[in-house]
């Protein structure tokens, strides 16, 4: 990898790049899925290539290739330079980057069991056993399970002298029971919807999830949902489980704090942000108990947003995003940090693969735990709804107005969990919602969730992000609007 990367840098500088960086990435994956007792998807793959990013005459260019011969790399470097020169045709001002040190380092996330060394037949067997448990429950019409593993080895080399080698091992799994009856399709997922839980860990994560043990419970809940109460309409107290709160953070905090959105760089596709620059350090984002960080350090946990260095060679950092309710930080890169006068990037440039340009992405955007026990939170709620596991999510292109629904809910009456509620939904305005938060559960209930499917950029890039969250309570929230009746 090193000789390839150095050759690419050398060729870019020879063509008068004022700055160049190169990512050589070798990505291996394994994906397994099952459905109703059969293996569905069963594939492994590898992809090796490099991407070269250059600044020439003050403008950016990027080219990528999987032809890793001298000719292929030289051609790719020349292409990046030619593209930068074309960018210069519509240039307003030269690119300015915030200062950064050079680093020569290696980093790897710790894991116990290499998932690629676990026999595939035993991985399939786990999914099929969970599948069988779900289908034992009368009324389940579809049982599905999946596991996915990624090993990403990458070398970043830049013309300021950095050479950073990183290896990330990622594992994830989940199961889903679906039931069709009458005029209704219900589903329940474990441990989370849309693919389950994903972390920078080895196969030990899959073993800890214990899919088989949870399969009967979600299957029974799925079938029971047909007879559950409909979600009432009106204003209610709601308590969100930690996985739903993780997605709420992702959509209504994680995306709006991306500084490239704020500065209009994503205006055509992902949209912009209500968090305009004058709101930094002045907006009351949430109530006093709301504290949110962007933390890519391993100390925060092995989340999908954990790394040693970002993809432009900036070390992992912890940035306070919301401190005691006050908005205090954006996600930045070297270019946008400089654009708003900040001395240094907080290290959030990430790329999906060797053939994609790094862009600002969430790292681990987490709400810090509070001090409540979950049981006490329920006991302390007179009239509300507890909502669990996301079912649908939507938010406007400036991240003001959102609507979420979850797979299941329970009525809370006089401090006790009561009747089941089907497909509960809630909606609101971001800052009003976070300011209505009056209780957050403690570290004992806090989970670092992985969202493996965050889309952004053109061409589209899918990225994994992490979101630590504990169950939390919100007052006076609009519920039950998600219906066309």
């Amino acid at each position: 990898m090193r000789s390839i990367a150095n050759f690419a840098i050398e060729k870019a500088l020879a063509r008068r790049a004022s700055y160049a960086d190169v990512r050589v990435m070798d990505i291996r994956h394994r994906d397994i899925s099952t459905k109703n007792g059969q293996v569905g998807r069963m594939s492994e793959g590898e992809s090796l290539g490099l991407g070269i990013r250059v600044i020439t005459d003050g403008a950016w260019g990027f080219a990528s290739t999987d032809r890793l011969t001298n000719e292929g790399i030289e051609s790719c470097a020349a292409e990046a330079i030619a593209i930068a020169k074309a960018s210069g045709m519509a240039k307003r001002h030269g690119v300015v980057l915030a200062q950064e040190q050079s680093f020569v380092d290696t980093w790897q996330n710790p894991f116990v069991k290499d998932p690629f060394r676990i026999p595939i037949e035993s991985q399939i067997a786990v999914l099929l056993r969970a599948d069988e448990e779900m289908r034992k429950v009368k009324g389940v019409t579809l049982a599905e399970g999946s596991m996915s593993f990624r090993r990403i080895e990458q070398l970043f080399v830049s013309s300021i002298g950095s050479a950073i080698h990183q290896v990330k091992m990622q594992s994830g799994a989940g199961i889903v029971a679906t039931s069709f009856a009458g005029e209704e399709i219900q589903k329940r997922s474990y441990p989370n919807s849309f693919g389950g839980q994903h972390m920078l860990r080895g196969y030990e994560l899959i073993e800890e999830l214990d899919l088989v043990r949870h399969a009967p419970r979600i299957a029974e809940e799925c079938v029971a949902l047909h007879k559950a109460e409909k979600c009432p309409e009106g204003k209610r107290t709601i308590i969100l489980d930690s996985s739903q709160l993780g997605l709420q953070i992702h959509e209504s905090i994680g995306h709006p704090i991306e500084l490239d959105r704020v500065l209009g760089m994503e205006a055509n596709f992902a949209g912009m942000s209500f968090l305009t620059l004058e709101k930094l350090n002045s907006l009351r984002y949430g109530s006093d108990i709301v504290n949110v960080v962007a933390d890519a350090r391993l100390a925060h946990g092995p989340g999908l947003g954990t790394f040693g260095y970002d993809d432009e060679g900036v070390p992992a950092q912890c940035t306070p995003i919301i401190f005691n309710g006050q908005f205090t930080g954006y996600l930045t890169n070297r270019e946008t940090a400089a654009a708003i006068g900040q001395p240094r990037s907080n290290g959030t440039m990430r790329t999906e693969s060797w053939n994609r340009l790094p862009i600002i992405r969430m790292t681990n955007i987490s709400i810090l735990p509070g001090d409540r026990k979950f049981e006490d939170l329920i006991a302390d709620t007179d009239d509300g709804i507890y909502m669990e596991t996301n079912r649908s999510w939507s938010i406007d292109d400036r991240r003001y107005h959102f609507q979420f629904s979850t797979e299941i809910g329970w009525e809370i009456k006089n401090g006790k969990r009561g009747r089941m509620i089907k497909t509960p939904s809630y909606s609101g305005i971001t800052t009003e919602f976070w300011n209505s938060c009056d209780a957050i559960c403690s570290r004992d209930y806090w989970t670092l969730w992985g969202t493996p499917n965050c889309g952004k950029g053109q061409p589209m890039q899918t990225m994994g992000t992490g979101h630590g969250a504990a169950p939390a309570r919100f007052r006076n929230v609009k519920v039950g609007i998600a219906s066309s009746e």
């Binding site: 063509r15 059969q38 293996v39 569905g40 998807r41 069963m42 594939s43 590898e46 992809s47 290539g49 260019g61 990027f62 080219a63 990528s64 290739t65 999987d66 000719e71 292929g72 020349a78 292409e79 990046a80 030619a82 593209i83 020169k85 074309a86 960018s87 045709m89 519509a90 307003r92 001002h93 595939i120 037949e121 399939i124 019409t141 579809l142 599905e144 069709f180 399709i185 500065l263 209009g264 994503e266 205006a267 055509n268 994609r356 340009l357 649908s392 999510w393 939507s394 406007d396 292109d397 003001y400 107005h401 609507q403 497909t423 909606s427 305005i429 053109q458 998600a482 219906s483 066309s484």
Partner: protein
């Protein structure tokens, strides 16, 4: 079908001192090269049967924002995907390395993955050679587009924004894809197409407008005309006022229609109905939509793109999915067709998969009404440019939620009465297609939530707008 390689311009030298930027055709491999890779795999394979997909992509995208190019990228890559079949089992392995050792490794990996699986009772033998209908979706001009060509067009758009005191953002991309499917029973199918896409947003202080087009032929895309349309939308949507949510007649421009009806595509899969998660489960043959709604899947339609064969090499058929409001047919892979006692339609995904098949070339019947006519005949309604962040709330009623974006207007007494703040909607697509009053001609529409389709503008009564946002 693709023209013979010899008729194409010869590839330029890939590295020169005066490098002006490569065009997609500089990386074109051609059918013989893809066949050569596949044949190498067949020689290495010890499986009972072997299938090889080879795809090669060369793509470039110029991205602009704040009236300047801020991201400008190109990619070139190949993927070789091998499916081994052994004793009623199958699995797939892929690589992007073309050296002998890598091809041997990926071939062995596919076999070893297959061997450790349970037998699949639904697995069918590979297909032999098929007769395909020809399609020609390669445009030399698109394949020849350079970074400078895209930058010139973007510069003009930025200058327009400057003149109109607006801020612009968008993309201009061009590229070439090649795909070959071959198997050890002698099937070899090759498809290539070129793609061009231009998408533009124009912004003012409190408003925005958007336009987008895609085509195989870059010369069918007029970036400046699209930018002018987006610019006018932004100007017209200044000072939006808040009007209350509720049921409105909605005049949906084609991209808005596309991004809604796009959520129906997998419901037409035989597998989806078999799994009882389609909104058509138990409803086939029953009148669901209005008499004016007919839908086909038709890869051969002149406004469509895509290969004339599916993931197993079956020729794609034109399928009537909805006939005057009644869902009448589904699409089927070979295995699903066998399970459901139907005939395969050539819509299967690459195997192995649990998803079966899907139609990717939907074509809606259209009408003759212009958008102006729809406005003129509306007492009170909303004119919608584009929708955003659409998600499914109820899969059987097919209720979707999402937001309006980049140009939402109140229509009163037959005229546009000004811009309004964006709405959230919660709307059943089944109800929507039962409430279509008039339609425009079906056009190739492009949005951001769905793949491109051929759909008309629609005027829909009683569309459910449930909340309003702050802009």
């Amino acid at each position: 079908m693709p023209k013979p390689a010899k008729k194409r311009k010869a590839p330029r030298s890939r590295v020169s001192s005066g490098h002006k930027g490569l065009a997609a055709h500089d990386h074109r491999l051609g059918a013989p090269e893809l066949r050569r890779i596949a044949e190498k795999i067949f020689k290495l394979s010890e499986a009972d049967e072997t299938e090889v997909d080879v795809s090669a992509v060369t793509s470039a995208l110029t991205r602009f924002a704040n009236n300047t190019i801020h991201q400008n990228v190109a990619e070139q890559g190949i993927t070789i995907s091998v499916r081994a079949v052994v004793d009623g089992r199958t699995a797939r392995a892929s690589t992007n390395k073309t050296d002998e050792d890598s091809l041997r490794r990926v071939t062995t990996a596919a076999l070893e993955l297959a061997q450790v699986q349970p037998r699949n009772p639904n697995l069918l033998p590979l297909l032999g050679p098929q007769k395909l209908q020809k399609v020609d979706r390669f445009a030399a001009k698109t394949a020849a587009a350079t970074p400078a060509d895209r930058a010139r067009a973007v510069t003009q758009v930025c200058q327009l924004a400057d003149r109109n005191k607006q801020t612009t953002a968008g993309i201009f991309s061009t590229g070439l894809s090649e795909f070959a499917l071959a198997n050890s029973r002698g099937l070899f199918e090759y498809y290539e197409d070129t793609r061009a896409e231009f998408s533009v947003t124009m912004l003012e202080k409190d408003s925005s407008g958007w336009a987008k087009a895609t085509s195989a032929r870059v010369d069918e895309i007029d970036p400046l005309a699209l930018a002018e349309r987006a610019s006018k939308k932004a100007a017209d949507s200044r000072s939006p006022r808040e009007v209350p949510p509720g049921q409105y007649t909605a005049i949906l421009e084609p991209p808005a229609v596309l991004d809604l009806v796009g959520f129906l595509f997998y419901d037409f899969a035989g597998t989806c109905v078999h799994d009882q998660r389609s909104c058509f489960t138990g409803r086939m043959g029953k009148k669901l939509f209005g008499e004016n709604i007919s839908i086909w899947d038709d890869v051969y339609h002149p406004l469509q793109l895509g290969a004339p064969f599916d993931g197993e090499g079956m020729p794609r058929q034109r399928v009537r999915l909805v006939d005057r409001g009644v869902p009448v047919n589904l699409v089927y892979s070979r295995a699903t067709a066998k399970q459901m006692k139907a005939k395969p339609t050539g819509h299967g995904f690459s195997l192995p998969t649990e998803d079966g098949e899907a139609p990717f070339n939907l074509v809606f019947s259209g009408g003759n009404a212009s958008t102006e006519e729809m406005i003129r005949t509306t007492g009170r309604g909303l004119l919608i440019t584009r929708l955003w962040y659409i998600r499914e709330v109820d899969p059987y009623k097919k209720v979707l939620t999402g937001m309006t974006r980049d140009g939402t207007f109140l229509v009163e007494n037959g005229r546009v009465a000004g811009a309004v703040r964006n709405f959230r909607f919660n709307q059943s697509i089944i109800d929507m297609l039962a409430n279509v009053e008039t339609m425009g001609p079906a056009v190739r529409a492009s949005g951001e939530e769905s793949f491109d389709m051929v759909v008309p503008a629609m005027k829909v009564r009683d569309f459910h707008f449930t909340e309003v946002t702050k802009f």
